[in-house]
């Protein structure tokens, strides 16, 4: 019985995908491009070996960011501040990580701990503001994003700038060799392609950890029960305020890992052009994947695929920004369809239940 409903819920993202491709086709037709050809070009480009490595690399931070958002979503808490949290964590981790050198695993572990600690402290502010001052987390985290951006720009210039650097924009010192994450190319035997970020392994672990945390621990149970029925949760003895702060800190902790994939795998330092926007993209992936570790992995890969395969479009005189619009369409349509299907399932369950009582 449960399996049947699972299959029905799976139809939502598929329907959303079809509709968004339809909408995008209409738009392409409107601007005078052949949608079939466009999607064909995108697809062919997207499945090249180089593209696949790039897609996986892109999907790693997206996935972790989605997990950070999902921890909050599970209890109905909207951490829109993953953006500011991961940038903050990456900056501090990049700075401190460059100050010393120990053996690689320990060095990377240390950097991870610093990033997680910084990001979760930054996220805790929003938790505090919600619990003590009643400020909705959406507003506070958005404001904290702007404040964080300012603080980062200032402290990068003033405190963390590379000493005696001949580079005219502020940036931190490069991580020593021991602080760089080795690539996985040897492992997969693809040494002719560009680096496959080693952080992939950590992303997989993070996914498993997230599953364990949310579905196999008491904290996860509390999160889920608060999310689905806050009143019942309160009566079962869960302290909602304490949980809000814990959820915010946990979410921020995951957020700390988001920036580490590009930091340890590619940039090796915090610069002005460090990738931004991963936090917001993660919200979309979490909504698409319904906070499920596997669903979000698919979602992250899908969005990464769209991003990468759209790169070829400019060469074919189609604006590559169509990809951002497709992502947004998918997102909006999928949330509508999830709701439609949720209602359908509830109705079915009531019907089934009344049927079985009728028989008796």
């Amino acid at each position: 019985m449960k399996m049947k409903f699972r299959l029905v819920s799976l139809s939502a993202p598929i329907v959303a995908l079809i509709i968004s491709f339809g909408l995008s086709s209409l738009i392409l037709l409107f601007i005078g491009k052949n949608p079939y050809e466009t999607f064909q070009i995108m697809f062919e480009y997207g499945i090249r070996g180089k593209s696949i490595v790039s897609i996986i690399n892109r999907s790693i931070p997206l996935y972790i960011s989605a997990i950070a958002v999902a921890v909050g979503f599970k209890m109905g808490l909207f951490n829109i501040g993953v953006e500011g949290q991961y940038l903050m964590g990456s900056l501090i981790a990049a700075y401190i990580g460059a100050q010393f050198s120990i053996i690689t695993p320990l060095h990377i572990l240390f950097i991870i701990i610093i990033a997680v600690a910084t990001s979760s402290m930054w996220a805790a502010i929003a938790g505090y503001l919600k619990v003590e001052k009643g400020i909705h987390e959406v507003i506070s985290t958005i404001m904290l994003n702007y404040i964080g951006t300012g603080l980062i720009a200032y402290s990068l210039k003033t405190f963390f700038d590379e000493p005696n650097s001949n580079y005219d924009l502020p940036r931190t010192t490069e991580l020593p060799e021991t602080g760089k994450m080795p690539s996985l190319n040897k492992f997969f035997n693809i040494e002719d392609l560009q680096d496959l970020h080693g952080f992939l392994a950590i992303a997989v672990l993070v996914g498993i950890f997230y599953y364990w945390l949310v579905w196999k621990t008491t904290l996860g149970f509390d999160l889920r029960i608060t999310g689905s029925n806050p009143i019942a949760a309160k009566f079962s003895g869960i302290n909602p305020n304490r949980l809000i702060v814990i959820a915010m800190i946990t979410s921020g902790g995951f957020a700390g890992l988001v920036g580490l994939a590009p930091l340890l795998g590619y940039f090796h330092r915090y610069t002005i052009d460090f990738p931004t926007g991963l936090g917001f993209a993660g919200i979309g992936v979490a909504l698409l994947g319904r906070n499920h570790p596997f669903g979000m992995a698919i979602g992250a890969l899908l969005f990464a695929f769209l991003q990468r395969s759209a790169q070829i479009l400019d060469l074919n005189d189609v604006p590559k920004e169509i990809e951002q619009m497709m992502q947004a369409f998918i997102l909006l349509i999928v949330v509508v369809f999830y709701e439609v299907i949720r209602r359908f399932i509830v109705k079915q369950q009531i019907k089934d239940a009344s049927k079985s009582t009728d028989k008796k």
Binding site: V138, A153, I283, E321, L332
Partner: protein, 414 residues
Amino acid sequence: MKIIFKSLTKRYMVFMPVLLVLVVAQVETYSQLTTSGTFGAAVRLAIPILLAGLGGLYSEKTGVVNIGLEGMMIMGTWFGAWGGYTFGAWQGVFIGMLGGALFGLIHAIATVSFQVDHIVSGVAINILAAGVARFLNVIAYKGVPYASSTASPRIQGDIGIFTMPFLAGGKIGETDTFNLLGSLENLDFFLVSDFAGLLLGFVSNISYLTLFALALVPVSILVLWFTPLGLQMRSVGEYPAGSESLGVNVYLMKYIGVTISGALSGLAGSYLVVAGTGTYLEGQTGGRGFIGLASMLFGNYKPFGVLMGSGLFGFADALQLRSPKAVHGLLIIAAVFLLILTIKAFFEKKYKVSAVSFLLSSALFIWFMNSTTIPNEFVYFTPHITTLIVLSFANQRIKLPEKLAVPYKKGELN
């Protein structure tokens, strides 16, 4: 002494910062705090926040949370600029409103008809708007000079500005009139000149669009509290099942509320373009939709309160734009305010609060003494940190609509 501080109830505490601003503004370095120029800029910057806040009000009064204000505002900036470039400034404003209203409608369809979680839908709207604006900007201005993927070309024409005759020296026909407030401001009298500056900001060189936006405050009070439509809209936010039993079309009211909300946010966005930059720039809304939401909370769901809240945020924004030096003056204001809080909390036996605010106060004071300006990067987030601080103090007394964010299904009794 004790009685004095006890009498400093919340109501009066609100006026403390105002008084402090006035005192600090007497110092030459910080005189920019209360000049008509600063207030003029504050009005200009407050209007988009006011409009977004009013937009939030219409939506939330009917029980629909609108986190998508920011996205609707983005649509307003893009469509406003496109309309302004293609047809002219006023047409741009109208088209910007339509763009916002369209996204309001999408939010209404998702939240009212499909009962999607309001915040999920709002977040999706924000992401959608950013993507759509980017895409439209790329396809609309192909090969147009001065346009790029993130900026539009300049709009045609302008809205026109207005200066009140006699009070601010506006013209009647071709003749200049007396500038009463201007001369009062130049006198440098304590309080009198500061208030003259404040008033001058409202009546001198203001865009007609600003007048229009300010007029929407009393209009909103009229519509929401003194018309049958307004009563129906508010009742839907408080007790939808009851409204329906009295024959109110709950869905229609919610649709109207959310669509008006979108139109007002769109207007807010097009104001940024038409009365501000003159072009669409990606990211120019800069979280003002959310600040609008904050000003609505600050204003306790009342149009006049929204005006006050947006004025406050506009003032913070104006300071950061016009005079980073004056922002430095805010440090000492905050320090003194916190010191007063320290003493107040001490007499109320809240020792923890007292200690924390004393520490913060001293930190700010030391910072103030050891610097002459605030770094640009900090100045940039003045409005955002103001939002958080203001909400921290204002949030306890808010009266939310009873059924805010609760999905309503026709015929349901809840």
